[in-house]
């Protein structure tokens, strides 16, 4: 072992120590993604279908034309918010999988507030609906954090069961007290006025503002988690809760705060579904975004910035699902099979971190 050696290629050691982990964090998931796609190609071959045609269709439907990008990007917003609802608690060591419930209740809150303010100016109405959705979502998932830290209730189970309660509650309220009597065969809340709808961004394709707010939420979450002392404290609590408590960190407040923040983001997914897409709350709010968010967060390794490309990629996959059904005569579940295989391979690749010599600075030193 030569402690004084500098690395090969003239790269000084601090630079290596800084960049090798980053290279590792990009290379391993990317390699795992490619491995997953190769495994899936084998699956396609067993079905007598061409993997080349399959991937060409994904490119065509998800990423080739202006409409393809519209199709992809218009699916991203709820995945960004739902991904954050999983990723933020995960940095504190909590596996929260019930974002679906916060989406449903957040959307309901936005719709009910909006319906009660018919005729209000958007400058007043939309912020109130926005805040209402975030508060309700935050309270719902924050309660999961509270149960965890104050009552020792397993947060994974609690969040999942609370999602069922939330969906049932939303259905009950939409079909009962908050039902618009004019919504005959699809019970819904009263429709929002046009002034209280969120429109598309002025970028030439029809993608609503939820996308921009979702990206902003990811950036803010990243700054908070990776660039502030608060986030540092949260990460310590996530790595070793005992050590954090010994250090006197307010672990309870951190857990409740970050689960609530995640829930608030999920509530905003509901806000944008209601204000930009449906114009009312109804059963269509429960579309599985909360569960896809779990996949997004794990693929992004709970890094809020990485959620953006991962969500875009998954949205592109889902955008291509229809064309694949129509052109290749494959069932719509094909894309889910692919996502599942990729998910498993990426989870397996977690075991590789720190074990590949090429990402160890010493690998380069001994070559010098």
């Amino acid at each position: 072992m030569n402690d004084t050696a500098t690395a090969s290629l003239g790269i000084p050691r601090p630079a290596l120590a800084k960049w090798l982990p980053r290279a590792e964090a990009v290379a391993i998931p990317l390699a795992a993604l490619i491995c997953g796609l190769v495994v899936f190609s084998l699956f396609l071959l067993t079905q007598g279908k061409s993997p080349i045609e399959f991937y060409a269709l994904i490119y065509k439907a998800g990423f080739s034309t202006a409409f393809s990008w519209q199709n992809t990007l218009s699916r991203v917003a709820p995945l960004l918010f739902a991904g954050l609802c999983v990723a933020l608690p995960a940095r504190l060591g909590l596996v929260v999988i019930g974002g679906e419930g916060a989406i449903a209740l957040g959307g309901l809150a936005a719709a009910v507030l909006g319906a009660s303010m018919a005729g209000a100016s958007p400058l007043i109405g939309l912020p109130i609906m926005f805040a209402g959705a975030a508060l309700v979502g935050g309270a719902w998932i924050g309660a999961v954090g509270w149960l965890r830290i104050r009552r020792g209730v397993n947060e994974t189970i609690a969040s999942l069961l609370m999602a069922y309660i939330a969906i049932a509650l939303m259905n009950h309220l939409v079909e009962g007290p908050f039902r618009d009597p004019a919504s005959l065969n699809k019970p819904s809340t009263a429709p929002l006025t046009d002034a209280l709808r969120v429109g598309d961004m002025p970028i030439g394709v029809e993608v609503h503002w939820g996308f921009a707010f979702g990206v902003l939420a990811c950036v803010i979450s990243w700054l908070l988690m990776d660039r502030t002392t608060l986030g540092f404290a949260a990460r310590i609590a996530g790595d070793n809760i005992r050590a954090a408590q010994v250090q006197g960190l307010p672990v309870g407040k951190l857990v409740i705060g970050f689960t609530a923040l995640g829930g608030a983001f999920a509530g905003l997914a509901g806000f944008f579904e209601v204000t930009a897409i449906h114009g009312a709350a109804n059963a269509s709010l429960v579309a599985g975004y909360g569960y896809t968010g779990i996949l997004v967060a794990f693929l992004a390794r709970h890094n809020p910035l990485a959620i953006i490309p991962v969500a875009t990629l998954l949205a592109g996959f889902e955008a291509s699902s229809g064309l694949i059904q129509r052109r290749m005569d494959l069932p719509d579940a094909t894309i889910l099979v692919m996502e599942g295989i990729v998910f498993v391979v990426i989870l397996l690749s977690e075991t590789l971190y720190g074990r590949l010599p090429v990402f160890n600075p010493r690998f380069w030193e001994t070559r010098a």
Binding site: L57, N185, R197, R326
Partner: protein, 374 residues
Amino acid sequence: MKPSLSLTRRHFLGTAAAFGGAAVAPSLLPGQAHAAGSLTVGFIYVGPKDDFGYNQAHAEGAAAVKAMDGVTVIEEENVPETNDVQNTMQSMINFDGAALLFPTSFGYYNPHILELAPKFPDVRFEHCGGLWGADDPKNAGSYFGYIGMGQYLNGIAAGHATKSKKIGFVAAKPIPQVLNNINSFLLGARAVDPSITCQVIFTGEWSLAVKEAEATNALADQGCDVITCHVDGPKVVAETAAARGAYICGYHADQSPLAPEMYLTGAEWNWAGVYTDMVTKFMAGEPIDNFVRGGLADGFIKMSPLGPAVSDAARNQFEATKAEIMKGGFAAIKGPLKDNKGNMIAAEGEAFVESDVALESMGYLVEGVIGSTS
């Protein structure tokens, strides 16, 4: 209003070329080019198209269109009633050149079709179940059938078959289309024996197999010996009921292959005729009405062939009533009739014929139905 930017085909082709997608695609992707002068028709389903139910009924209609000359049919299943369906419709228009779309689920209409139709004035959107109104886009339309009459005939078969005088109904949600079916089913049975009651259980969801099985078992436990349903896929209800020894009246499509001995009859959609008729008109450039409704006489619905358990007496009353309905203007809801809370819904001499639009906003269960809408 939301700012809109319609994606015309010229715009689309231009950007496609700019992105290089157009150059790659044709060489790799077979089956997308279609002969000039032909029509591409898109069908969109909310569930699987082999669900023995709502979606299968539409897919059978699509299959009839597929057999027509000069028509290419494209289909997509399991499309949720979210922004996804807007993307699917646009994808069919942009990538496949579809000019006539049949988005078949109720929730596709508002807001999704209403949003897209003005942006694609050359495309025709034909929607199942909605109530097209004069303010809605002219290139959109809605169609539906008086399937309550089918449930009335189901009720006649059930009324003869039941020994316990209790029949059961597994329902998704307490909405007008479902309530009309429940009421018609019971009234059909009461045309045989006025002492019959019908227990209804709402599952709360259009497609939730576990709850449908639980509900069917609960009905059988309570002594219901004929069971029908209104959920998207009646497969689970039919199989569970047969396993419990209850007779089945089908819905949406023909479920007799699932339980040939226990299947009495069924109220089925007959979309093949409706769809081929609309496509023929569209290709000939003839106008299609924006608001289309029809019943048994118009070929919008049909009955499954009567099963082996149907008695001769049942068959006679069934056929006689069917002939009556075929004449048109039949009313299942007619006075004097109360709802199951005791409110008068039709006075002596008052009748709601099958085509009465008032039936499409029904909010009650008739006397003899055990259950509640809330």
